[in-house]
C-alpha cells in the first residue's frame, strides 16, 4: 500500500451500506475524524449496484484473515470480522439467448420482418452484444424508490446532499387486475383517462381521498379491523378496492385499517411534487445514494479506504472496542459502527429468519409498451399463496441499462425460493417466444437477501460498537434514514444530524434544458428559469471580485 492509513480516529465505520454511509456523513459533518473502510472493492455492500460483468463475478465469500499477533496486547481479545449469516443466498444467473450471432440466414431476416413492426432489421441480441454493453448496466441488489415527500427526500434537501445525485420520477404505477396489467389512477388526469374506471367509480375514489385529506376520523372505528373491511364498508367496487388496497396503500388483505390509511395518505401526500407519481428513482441506480453520502463525508474530511485487508477487532478486558486490525496496521477509535454482515459471528445472537426474494431480468421490451419510455412501478397483488411483489421496470433513461433494453427488478418477501416466489409473475408478464407481444427475458438473476431488520442487533454487542441492519423490504429509504438518525443520536447526543452543507456555488449541472417536450420533462422548467437568473447574478459578481463563498477549511493540498 502506497499510503498508510492514519491510526487514530473518533469513529471507524466498516461497510459502505446506506445506514453506515449516512452515519459516516453525519459524523464527518460535525467534525469527527471518520475512517470509513470496506473490505469490498466497491461501495454499497448489500445495497450496491453492479454492471453486468461485476454482477457475474459477485460471490458470497466471507474471507477470514488471521491478524498479526504482535499488534495485540496480552489483556486484549480479538474477534475475526465477517459472518455468513447476512451474505447473499441462492445466487444464480442465467442467459436465455445465444452466446454469439449465428451466421446470418436470409430466412431468419424475412421472418422477423413479418412478425415485428420495427422499421429497421435489428441485429439479434446476443450474450456477446450485452456483455459488450455491460458497463451501461447498473444492477441494484436492493432497488428503491423514494417518496417525493418522504424522510429521505427531505434529508437530501435539508443536508444539501441532493446536489450529488439526480433522480427520475416514476412515470406510471401499474397493478395486475383480472389477469391483465392496469394503470393505477394516481392523478386527476389518470383517473379521467382511465377507461376502466366508470364515472361513478371516479367519484367514489375522489370522495375517499377528499375524506382522508380533510382529516375524516371515521377510520378510528376500525380499530382492530382490516383496511379491506373499511374499503368494503365504503361501498367501493372490487376494482377500486384492488387499486387502493394493493397499489396505492401497498397493503394486503390482513393490513389493519389504521396502517392502510397511513399508507394511503403517504402516497397522496407525495403526489404533485416531482412528476406524475409519488415516486423517484435515483439515476444510475440506488447504489448511487450511498456514494453521495460518502462523498459528503469525504468532503468534510472522512478518510475512505476500500479493498482493505480487514482481519479483526480488538477489545480490552472490559469488552470495550479498542481498535481494528487492517493489514499490518492497528487503528483505534472511540466508536465502531459496522454493517451486520461485517460483524464477528459472536455478535449475532439470532440468525436471520426472513429473506428478501429478488430477481433481475434484462428484457427486450416493456411489460406495457408505449411510445415513450416509462419508468414503471408494478404492484403485483398477493396471489395463490404468494406474497405481493414489487416490480420496477427501468429503461435506458435511468442510466441503468443500454438503449432499447429494460431492466426489471422483482422484490418480495420470500416464501420458498426466489425462483418459486416469482414464478407466477414471470409466467404472466414475460414470454419465452420471439413472436409474442410480451417481453422476452434475455438474462435472469435470482438471489435472496437475508433481512436483518427485525433482528436484535444489540444484545451481546459491546457498548461502543453498533451494528447496522442491511436492506429491508420497504420500497424506500425512509426507515433506513430513521435508523441511521437514531444510531447517530445515540453516539453523539445533542448534536445536529446532517445540518445543511454550505453551497460551494449554487449550481445545477445538466445539459441543455431547451429541448423538452415530453410531459415528464415539464418537471423542472419553472424552477430552472428562476435559478438561471439568480446564478448569473452571483456568478458575475464572483467572476469580478473573486468572491466565492468560503466553506470551512477550504482548499488545501
Amino acid at each position: 500500500m502506497e499510503y498508510e492509513l492514519p491510526t487514530e480516529f473518533d469513529i471507524i465505520i466498516i461497510g459502505t451500506g446506506v445506514i453506515e454511509s449516512i452515519i459516516s456523513a453525519a459524523a464527518s459533518r460535525i467534525g469527527k475524524r471518520v475512517l470509513h473502510i470496506d473490505s469490498n472493492n466497491y461501495y454499497g455492500g448489500l445495497w450496491a449496484s453492479f454492471n453486468l460483468d461485476a454482477i457475474h463475478k459477485l460471490s458470497a465469500n466471507t474471507e477470514v484473515l488471521d491478524p498479526p499477533t504482535d499488534l495485540i496486547n496480552p489483556d486484549e481479545t480479538t474477534f475475526a470480522l465477517g459472518n455468513d449469516f447476512f451474505s447473499l443466498k441462492n445466487f444464480k444467473t442465467d442467459w436465455h439467448i445465444p452466446k454469439a450471432e449465428t451466421q446470418p440466414e436470409n430466412e431468419n431476416v424475412e421472418e422477423k420482418n413479418e412478425t415485428e413492426s420495427e422499421e429497421k432489421p435489428e441485429k439479434p441480441i446476443t450474450q456477446d452484444s450485452l456483455i459488450k454493453d455491460g458497463r451501461k448496466f447498473n444492477i441494484d441488489l436492493a432497488p428503491k424508490l423514494q417518496f417525493a415527500r418522504g424522510e429521505f427526500v427531505e434529508l437530501l434537501i435539508s443536508s444539501n446532499i441532493a446536489r450529488y445525485s439526480e433522480y427520475r420520477s416514476v412515470s406510471r404505477v401499474l397493478t395486475w387486475l383480472n389477469g391483465q396489467l392496469e394503470t393505477v389512477p394516481c392523478s386527476r388526469s389518470d383517473v379521467f383517462a382511465n377507461n376502466k374506471v366508470t364515472v361513478i367509480e371516479k367519484r367514489m375514489l375522489m370522495k375517499l381521498f377528499m375524506a382522508l385529506d380533510s382529516g375524516d376520523q371515521e377510520y378510528l372505528n376500525y380499530d382492530n379491523k382490516t383496511f379491506r373491511a373499511f374499503l368494503t364498508d365504503k361501498k367501493l367496487t372490487p376494482s377500486l378496492i384492488h387499486y387502493v388496497l394493493y397499489a396505492i396503500s401497498m397493503s394486503t388483505d390482513e393490513t389493519l385499517c389504521l396502517q392502510g390509511i397511513q399508507n394511503t395518505k403517504r402516497f397522496l401526500d407525495s403526489l404533485g411534487r416531482f412528476g406524475k407519481t409519488p415516486f423517484l428513482f435515483s439515476m444510475y441506480g440506488s447504489g448511487e445514494i450511498t456514494q453521495a453520502f460518502c462523498r459528503l463525508s469525504a468532503v468534510f474530511g472522512g478518510i475512505y479506504a476500500l479493498s482493505q485487508p480487514l482481519s479483526s477487532l480488538i477489545f480490552d478486558n472490559e469488552n470495550n472496542f479498542k481498535g481494528l486490525i487492517c493489514g499490518k496496521q492497528r487503528i483505534s477509535a472511540e466508536f465502531l459502527v459496522m454493517g451486520a454482515e461485517k460483524a464477528p459471528p459472536e455478535f449475532i445472537k439470532s440468525p436471520p429468519r426472513s429473506f428478501i426474494a429478488r430477481a433481475v431480468f434484462i428484457t427486450d421490451r416493456s411489460i406495457m409498451s408505449s411510445e415513450k419510455e416509462h419508468l414503471t412501478l408494478l404492484l403485483y397483488p398477493p396471489e395463490g399463496g404468494k406474497n405481493s411483489c414489487v416490480i420496477i421496470e427501468l429503461g435506458t433513461l435511468t442510466g441503468t441499462c443500454p438503449k432499447d433494453l429494460y431492466l426489471v427488478h422483482l422484490i418480495s418477501q420470500q416464501v420458498a425460493s426466489p425462483e418459486d416466489d416469482f414464478k407466477h409473475c414471470v409466467e404472466n408478464l414475460f414470454s419465452k417466444f420471439e413472436d409474442d407481444k410480451k417481453p422476452k427475458i434475455l438474462w435472469s438473476c435470482f438471489f435472496s437477501i437475508p433481512d436483518s431488520n427485525a433482528l436484535d442487533l444489540k444484545t451481546g454487542v459491546p457498548g461502543n460498537v453498533v451494528l447496522c441492519p442491511g436492506p429491508d423490504l420497504d420500497l424506500d429509504y425512509d426507515d433506513a434514514v430513521k435508523k441511521a438518525k437514531a444510531i447517530f443520536s445515540d453516539l453523539y447526543p445533542d448534536t445536529e444530524f446532517l445540518p445543511r452543507a454550505p453551497d460551494p456555488e449554487d449550481i445545477i449541472i445538466e445539459g441543455d434544458t431547451e429541448d423538452r417536450n415530453d410531459e415528464d420533462e415539464v418537471v423542472l422548467k419553472p424552477e430552472e428559469n428562476t435559478d438561471k437568473v439568480a446564478e448569473s447574478e452571483t456568478e458575475a459578481k464572483s467572476d469580478n471580485d473573486q468572491e466565492v463563498p468560503k466553506s470551512e477549511n477550504e482548499h488545501e493540498e
Binding site: 445525485s165 392523478s187 456555488e505 449550481i507 415530453d518 420533462e521 424552477e527 482548499h555 488545501e556 493540498e557
Partner: protein, 204 residues
C-alpha cells in the same frame, strides 16, 4: 454581463495526492495560491465561467475530496464528466508513472466515451525536475490526450490548460450537447408537478 452561457461542463481533476490538484483548482477559480495547503478538506467543486472562441461556458470543476488517496473515488464522481484534467508533479516521477492507472480509472468509470483528457505537469517553478517534457508529451500523444506544463504557484499554464480543454470539448460533437438526460429531477424544496392538477386534493 448578460452573456449567454452555452452549457455547463463537468470537469474532473484527478491524479496522485500532493501533485497540486486543489492548487490548480484554486488558482484557476480564485487566482489564489496557498503554499501551506496540505490535504483537501471542504473543497467539493467550484464553478467559473470561461469564454473560449466566442462561446461562454460554465465549468463545474470537481475536486477529489481526498478520495484519491486510497483510490476510492466513487463511480458517481466520474459520471457525466465532459473533461478530465490529469495532474502529475514534474518533480516526482512516480506521480507521472501513476497516470497510466488514472487513465484506466477514467476509462472504467466515464460515462462519456469521448471525454476530453488533458495531462498537466504541475510545479514547473521548482528546480528538481524528474519528468522531462519530451517524455510526458510522448505519453500524452500515445494516450491521445492534451498536454501542458503549469505552475499553480506562478500561474503559468493554468488558465491555458482550462481554455484548451474547453476548446476541445466544444469541438467534440456529441459530448456536451446531449439531451439524453432531460427530464431528470433535481431534488429541492420547490414542487415540480408535471401536471398542475395532478393532486387528488385539487379535485372537487
Amino acid at each position: 454581463m448578460d452573456e449567454e452561457v452555452l452549457t455547463t461542463l463537468k470537469i474532473l481533476i484527478i491524479g496522485e495526492s500532493g501533485v497540486g490538484k486543489s492548487s490548480i483548482l484554486v488558482r484557476f477559480t480564485e487566482d489564489n495560491f496557498d503554499p501551506d495547503q496540505t490535504l483537501t478538506i471542504g473543497v467539493d467543486f467550484k464553478t467559473k465561467k470561461l469564454s473560449v472562441d466566442g462561446n461562454t461556458v460554465k465549468l463545474a470543476i470537481w475536486d477529489t475530496a481526498g478520495q484519491e488517496r486510497f483510490r476510492t473515488l466513487t463511480p458517481s464522481y466520474y459520471r457525466e464528466a465532459q473533461g478530465a484534467i490529469l495532474v502529475y508533479d514534474v518533480t516526482n516521477y512516480s506521480t507521472f508513472a501513476k497516470l497510466e492507472t488514472w487513465l484506466s480509472e477514467l476509462e472504467t468509470y466515464s460515462t462519456k466515451p469521448n471525454i476530453v483528457k488533458m495531462i498537466v505537469g504541475n510545479k514547473i517553478d521548482k528546480e528538481n525536475r524528474e519528468v522531462n517534457r519530451d517524455e510526458a508529451m510522448k505519453f500524452a500523444r500515445r494516450h491521445q490526450t492534451l498536454y501542458i506544463e503549469a505552475s499553480a504557484k506562478t500561474r503559468d499554464g493554468v488558465q491555458c490548460a482550462f481554455e484548451e480543454l474547453v476548446h476541445k470539448i466544444i469541438q467534440t460533437p456529441g459530448l456536451w450537447e446531449s439531451f439524453a438526460l432531460n427530464g431528470n429531477v433535481h431534488v429541492d424544496n420547490k414542487d415540480h408537478p408535471s401536471d398542475s392538477s395532478s393532486c387528488y386534493c385539487s379535485l372537487v
